[in-house]
């Protein structure tokens, strides 16, 4: 029992985490490919044509997983931020910083696919429905986090300030979602939801789940790669970095 606890803290140091992450990354890319191919196959070839929306609806196989991931990544980011702040752990802060661009990308993808879907469906490039609007605000929260961290020169201060912002954001997100939902139902008669198809065939659900898994694996692979880059940058004066094989050339 004791051994397991000690091992956990051992990987909390950038020095030991760096090679571990390096070993894990290829596996996550493989999983991304597997889930992605399966999900795309299901979504674009197997799932039936929608009675109302024709073929165009298939974009939900990108849109919905991207939305899920954008929200999920923010939670994970806030979790690492809280750990970094609470335990003064450098690696946790780096992990949060590594996740932010991927989360922002997911949010942007969700917004973009939402617009692409909206145009053939309702003739407008943008619809101010509750989900898209909340997604837009989430995108702003990501941008704010990234902007704050890049504006602060000192890495430690940037980590901690970003952590506070992420935690304030996490607390506010339910409130924002709730407010936007209220605002939307108030101002629109029938709320048109991009995901509320009258009947969601099993295959559609499976397709979205597989794509969500693919995006998740992708996010982990990319974030681990990014955190390794951050580790190298921050710790570049440490002895162990100068000993690395890949840097000696």
């Amino acid at each position: 029992m004791n051994n397991r606890i000690i091992n956990w803290f051992k990987f909390a140091s950038p020095q030991t985490f760096y090679p571990l992450a390096g070993k894990m990354i290829p596996w996550f890319w493989a999983l991304t490919a597997i889930f992605g191919l399966a999900g795309l196959y299901l979504g674009f070839f197997v799932a039936p044509t929608d009675a109302q929306q024709g073929e165009g609806y298939r974009i939900i196989f990108i849109h919905v997983p991207a939305s899920w991931m954008s929200m999920f990544i923010y939670l994970v980011m806030a979790f690492w931020a809280a750990l970094g702040l609470g335990f003064n752990a450098r690696l946790s802060g780096m992990m949060a910083s590594a996740l932010a661009p991927t989360g922002a990308l997911m949010a942007f993808l969700s917004l973009w696919t939402g617009a692409l879907w909206g145009k053939p469906m309702w003739g407008a490039w943008w619809v101010w429905d509750a989900r898209l609007t909340s997604e837009l605000i989430l995108f702003f929260l990501y941008l704010g986090f990234i902007a704050l961290q890049s504006a602060i020169d000192d890495a430690r201060r940037a980590d901690k300030a970003g952590a506070v912002l992420a935690l304030v954001g996490v607390v506010n997100i339910p409130i924002i979602y709730f407010s936007v939902k209220w605002w939307n139902t108030l101002h629109q008669g029938a709320s048109v939801s991009l995901t509320r198809s009258p009947s969601m065939a099993q295959t559609m659900l499976w397709g979205m789940l597989l794509m969500a898994l693919a995006f998740w694996m992708y996010s982990i692979a990319v974030s681990l790669t990014r955190v390794r880059a951050i580790i190298l940058e921050r710790e570049r004066h440490a002895g162990w970095v100068e000993e690395l094989e890949e840097l000696k050339s």
Binding site: I137, A147, A151, I152, K160, L165, N172, W182
Partner: protein, 227 residues
């Protein structure tokens, strides 16, 4: 730390900030002028049809109040940071949260309160019904303290950071959205006869939440900025 000295410190902070603002009135007045100017820009940009202006009045007034509050955020901590007073507050035997609360209260007295009191005049420019003007004032009176409380967190996070003014906007405006929705929504609800009580109660709930968590988050952010 005795309760009397905590209260003494709190009121001293408020009085000090008010005193400093009175001796340098331009800061406060520019916030108010900005509010007035921004509100006037909308008819110029959209057209003077009274029907439309009446409809957009609550939203316009609230957005202008948001922007005016945000502009005034940078003077919340910047001056004290520059002359070392903020450090002294962080080192005081009085909890920093108490002193921060005092500064936020003073900030509201100098920005949110005047905005709320000025809003009926601007509402008349948009032909807002007299009864709804009252709701507008109340909504602003409840909502603007929330703006100051949340804004303080942003101001503390960006203390001394380059590009601080614009950066604060990016950080804080998304967090202002709920207040905007329910603040403007309260006036609209009153206009359509539905009654603003639900909206105002929610705004009051936001105020309670912000008053409870805001100073604490701001204190954490300040200590990070002072390291």
């Amino acid at each position: 730390m005795g309760e009397t000295s905590l209260l003494a410190a709190l009121s001293a902070v408020i009085r000090r900030d008010l005193l400093l603002a009175m001796r340098r009135k331009s800061d406060v007045l520019t916030t108010l002028f900005f509010f007035v100017i921004v509100v006037s820009l909308f008819p110029l940009g959209i057209g003077p049809e009274m029907d439309m202006l009446r409809k957009i009045a609550p939203g316009v007034l609230w957005v202008a109040a948001l922007l005016a509050t945000m502009l005034s955020l940078n003077r919340l901590f910047a001056a004290d940071h520059a002359d070392g007073t903020l450090e002294q507050m962080a080192l005081s035997a009085v909890p920093l949260g108490v002193l921060v609360t005092g500064k936020v209260v003073a900030h509201w007295l100098l920005s949110g309160l005047p905005l709320a009191l000025l809003s009926p005049v601007l509402g008349l420019q948009f032909d807002l019904a007299a009864g709804s003007l009252g709701v507008m004032v109340i909504a602003l009176l409840i909502g603007t303290p929330v703006l100051s409380l949340i804004g303080a967190i942003g101001a503390a996070l960006t203390l001394g950071v380059r590009g601080g003014g614009v950066l604060v906007s990016l950080l804080v405006l998304p967090l202002y959205v709920p207040v905007l929705i329910f603040g403007a929504g309260a006036v609209e609800a009153d206009l359509t006869g539905l009654g603003a009580t639900a909206h105002l109660s929610l705004l009051a709930a936001f105020l309670a939440l912000a008053a409870f968590f805001g100073p604490w988050a701001t204190t954490v952010a300040l200590r990070i900025a002072l390291e």
